[in-house]
């Protein structure tokens, strides 16, 4: 496919204010516009957000009213009150595939593996904290399906961001390019910046030189191929496919103006620390907003820690190990309120991202108008490990594709139907999504 974005004249109208503000916020977003070609429809965008160890259901689910549009937000979602009309909440979505007796692994593994894929876990050697064994999820996540549809003309197909995702196993991955192909998140803002803004050189012949080098690399893959066994051939063919995709994307118009060289975030942060976690979150969200504004990618994810993690959230006075906290007994009101305050913090980070996106003008509106954010966690509730009532929240309408401002009471609907409905907002035309045994049609009443 021929890249088309080079024709678009976006960079000239974009520039950054190179002002110096607080050390832990990026001075990137002011006076930035995200217009594509003149009068063109803004591109749709998608963000997945993951938070760990389930939720506090009492504080998550809204109080329903007379109709789906009449509801009161739970305490966790109060930071999102200003965006209430742009939210979609559900009760009654379950991970049907996660509950299948033939699935591999423990509940946190199954829950995170199916959260955005609707798939089972393969066989494997990854152990959860209790010794259950599993491999990776058996299919692609929705962000990658969406990226295939809308992410071919950008520098990056998608951008996976992490905030303290330190477990590199099935409990530490939410995005999959395909069966058994997880995508690792970047945990350090400086590395996110490098990925977005790295250029080999600005010399005029640079592209010719880079292409010639990648052709030689491709020739070496070809030379090695006949000497390989079948498994290795498949492994290296997949690698070559990534090199070729990278080569093609390097030919896509390079950002200029402020998008070419914004100020970098601090390079010396320890991203695996409870002391820096809130700052890292803000920097990653800022960089995500810049990536959208500069149209470097249209699909992203932000993963906060990992399933079964033991981290503390001292900035909201939650000093317990996360997983242990989520196991508190139902009558332990204190513990549940601390768990809810962690989730409220996550809601405030989501509100921060929505606010940032809403401040980037595009067409007659803002980047937020074209964006959908999907927030989920791997189990319904930590102490029972239930895979019923998985908390999913949708924010934004993906350019008016979703009928937002509703709270829907559903009757035990498979999460793969919700995932399919989201995919439909981006023009996905396959009959179903996820594991065949639990796939179904779209959930009625969500698509505009």
């Amino acid at each position: 496919m021929k890249p088309t974005r080079g024709k678009q004249s976006r960079p000239s109208r974009r520039h950054f204010l190179r002002a110096s503000v607080g050390a832990l916020a990026l001075p990137l977003l002011d006076s930035l516009r995200a217009d594509a070609a003149d009068n063109a429809t803004p591109p749709k965008r998608l963000v997945l957000v993951y938070t760990p160890n389930g939720t506090a259901p009492e504080a998550w689910f809204p109080t329903p009213g007379a109709s789906t549009t009449d509801f009161a937000l739970g305490s966790i979602h109060q930071p999102l009150a200003a965006f209430k009309d742009q939210l979609l909440l559900f009760k009654g979505v379950h991970s049907a595939v996660g509950q299948d007796a033939n699935n591999n692994g423990g509940p946190h593994q199954r829950g995170i593996g199916s959260l955005f894929t609707g798939q089972m876990l393969g066989m494997g050697e990854f152990k959860d904290g209790c010794g259950s064994l599993a491999g990776w999820a058996d299919g692609p996540s929705i962000d990658q399906e969406v990226a295939t549809l809308i992410g071919q003309d950008t520098l990056l197909k998608s951008l996976e961001l992490g905030v303290r995702c330190m477990d590199n196993d099935v409990q530490g991955r939410i995005c999959y390019a395909g069966p058994g192909l997880p995508l690792p998140p970047i945990n350090e803002p400086i590395n996110t910046y490098e990925r977005l803004f790295f250029r080999t050189t600005s010399a005029p012949d640079a592209n010719l030189r880079a292409e010639t080098i990648l052709n030689a690399v491709s020739d070496q893959f070809t030379a090695l191929r006949p000497r390989l066994g079948r498994e290795d051939r498949e492994k290296l063919d997949a690698h070559l496919g990534l090199v070729e995709d990278l080569e093609r994307r390097m030919g896509i118009g390079q950002p200029s103006g402020g998008c070419a060289s914004p100020l970098p975030p601090p390079g010396d942060m320890n991203a695996d620390s409870e002391d820096t976690m809130p700052s890292v979150s803000r920097l990653q969200l800022d960089l995500l907003a810049v990536a959208f504004a500069c149209d470097l990618t249209r699909v992203a994810s932000v993963q906060y820690s990992t399933g079964f993690n033991r981290i503390r959230y001292p900035w909201v006075q939650s000093f317990e190990e996360g997983h242990a906290l989520s196991h508190s007994g139902d009558s332990d009101v204190d513990s549940w309120s601390r768990l809810a305050s962690r989730q409220t913090w996550h809601a405030s980070e989501l509100a921060y991202l929505m606010q940032k996106l809403s401040e980037i003008p595009e067409g007659d509106g803002s980047v937020l108008d074209s964006t959908l954010i999907v927030w989920g966690t791997e189990v319904g509730k930590g102490n029972s490990h239930t895979l019923n009532d998985i908390p999913y929240l949708l924010a934004g309408s993906a350019g008016g594709a979703l009928d937002t401002g509703q709270y829907l009471q559903l009757d035990n609907v498979s999460n793969s139907r919700l995932l399919l409905t989201i995919l439909r907002a981006y023009g996905y035309d396959h009959a179903s999504f996820g594991h065949a045994d639990y796939a179904g049609d779209e959930i009625p009443g969500l698509l505009a």
Partner: protein
């Protein structure tokens, strides 16, 4: 190709482990095994540490270019899983960025340092491609591989110049699969259901196993001159590599994976002073260095050494006299004996606010005895009990062994962990908890080694039992096997490893002999065929 089963028919099954099958004319292994059902090797992508050390050796690069690389998947602490560590878009971009910057820096230092050449550009380019290519690909280039680099050079040299075109060759080499992967290609003419590794493949297996980097000139020369064909050759090289300082970092790396030490700096524990985790990690590094590299060291020394390394932070945390500077050894006998009483390990194997007999017990079973624990029933509430000021940790965990559903598994876990109850969540010694005397009595049940099963008084006695157990030495070797081959040991490896086990036992668990035994065993020297190689 014909498998051995076809050649000898039904007798094969009975003979599998003690028949004599020549695999190399010069020096047949003492026994051969049917590897046709074993795990075929996979092309192994370099890990971050392997990449870092390889470009250091190949280019003289002093800095770590992998800080922004995504982390490899981790299986049981090991990040070198051949099947899980695969290319992904972020990693491929990281390779591209690193190749661009590493090749530029190599040029700035001078490409002549890599391949000295004076004379005609075209001649020097060919020499560079042959010589640098051989080191980058860890074997001589095949004709089409050399052609690919020569084509690149000749396309760029006219407009970019000789130096830049060679820099581009370096940049391309660093992104080529022959550099990024350790490929073990089928050897034509192999017989009897096993594939013999080629000399260059064996050289890379040795250097990556023992140094975590590419072969040095001596290994390359041995591979080139047929000096890697016999057990004696391999033993000579294994001993040489182990005698080189480069193996020290590699041995540390193994212990970080085996014991889970990577995660120490980020642990949060009640009562921990600032910087405790980092100091504990350094303390463990020093402990491993001392025990492992002592003359004649054996696996059992890990369980008997009374040494704990302390710096100012640790001295204060554990009420010891502070050292005048740095990290110094303290003899803490008789109460500290070996690995299981190291403050670092005890801290790691705790919850944030209390010791964890479960984590400690599971660790001993899984990491030291290779006796896995069955997973709990899915419905179980596995949160630790809240700290109760009127009880000890042990009393609070008693519920596990009272509830019959839990007792089934916890009977083989908790009583091991209880022996370490004399140490709190940051590994401080304690005689009482909440004013009640701690009870350190425990038991080894179904440990896999009947000779060590039975009641245990405390961590010191547990350590003494483990120190003497051949099961622990075998388990340690199977961890080294995973580290060497990038996959867990399976039952199909048992036969190939049997000679190594015997040798280790005969040497009393000697650590250097363990490496020699492993590298000279069939498990290391031959490999199972790929599926299509196995077809009749």
């Amino acid at each position: 190709m014909a498998s051995l089963a076809l050649l000898v028919g039904g007798a094969w099954a009975a003979l599998a482990c003690d028949s004599f099958v020549p695999t190399a004319p010069a020096d047949p292994p003492a026994e051969a095994c049917d590897l046709s059902g074993g795990e075929p090797p996979e092309a192994r992508l370099l890990t971050r540490s392997e990449y870092r050390r390889t470009v250091q050796a190949l280019l003289g690069e002093p800095d770590d270019p992998t800080l922004s690389f995504p982390h490899e998947p981790e299986v049981d602490g090991f990040n070198n899983s051949a099947s899980s560590h695969r290319a992904n878009p972020l990693l491929v971009e990281s390779f591209l960025r690193a190749a661009a910057s590493l090749s530029t820096r190599a040029r700035e230092r001078g490409l002549g340092l890599l391949v000295p050449c004076e004379g005609d550009d075209a001649v020097c380019a060919d020499l560079f491609i042959e010589d640098f290519g051989r080191r980058a690909f860890r074997r001589p280039l095949a004709g089409d591989e050399a052609t690919a680099f020569k084509t690149l050079y000749s396309r760029l040299a006219p407009s970019f110049g000789h130096e830049d075109a060679l820099t581009a060759v370096v940049e391309a080499a660093l992104q080529s699969p022959q550099f990024l992967y350790r490929v073990e290609a089928p050897q034509l003419g192999a017989e009897y259901g096993v594939m013999t590794l080629g000399p260059y493949e064996l050289a890379s297996r040795l250097s990556y196993f023992l140094w975590g980097t590419m072969p040095d000139d001596v290994l390359f020369a041995a591979a080139e001159s047929g000096q890697l064909d016999t057990s004696a050759d391999i033993e000579r090289e294994a001993r040489r590599l182990l005698g080189d300082p480069r193996s020290k970092e590699r041995v540390r790396e193994f212990h970080h994976a085996w014991l889970g030490l990577e995660h120490l700096p980020s642990v949060a524990r009640e009562g921990a002073p600032a910087g405790l985790g980092t100091s504990l990690q350094e303390s463990m590094n020093a402990f491993v260095d001392e025990v492992f590299w002592a003359e004649g060291a054996s696996v059992s020394d890990f369980f008997t050494s009374p040494t704990v390394y302390v710096d100012a932070v640790l001295a204060s945390a554990y009420s010891l006299p502070p050292p005048s500077a740095g990290m110094v050894a303290r003899d803490l006998s008789p109460r500290r004996t070996g690995l299981l009483t190291q403050p670092a390990l005890l801290t790691l194997l705790s919850n944030d606010d209390q010791s964890s007999p479960i984590r400690r017990g599971v660790f001993v079973r899984e990491r030291l005895l290779c006796a896995p624990v069955p997973a709990p029933p899915p419905s179980v509430d596995n949160s630790p009990p809240d700290p109760d000021p009127t009880l000890t940790t042990r009393q609070r965990f008693a519920v596990h062994t009272e509830d019959p559903e839990c007792a089934n598994c916890h009977l083989v876990i908790d009583p091991i962990g209880f022996t370490m109850e004399g140490f709190d969540q940051i590994g401080r010694m304690r005689a009482t908890e909440n004013g009640i005397a701690v009870d350190t009595s425990g038991e080894l049940i179904e440990s896999g080694d009947p000779s060590i099963d039975g009641p245990v008084a405390d961590a010191t006695e547990l350590s003494a039992r483990l120190a003497d157990s051949p099961t622990v030495a075998r388990c340690a070797m199977s961890k080294w096997f995973t580290f060497a081959l990038g996959r867990p040991r399976t039952f199909t490896d048992e036969c190939a490893l049997s000679s190594a086990y015997d040798r280790i036992q005969a040497s009393g668990g000697n650590l250097v002999e363990m490496f020699v035994a492993l590298t000279t065993s069939p498990a290391f020297r031959v490999r199972a065929p790929h599926a299509e190689e196995n077809a009749p």
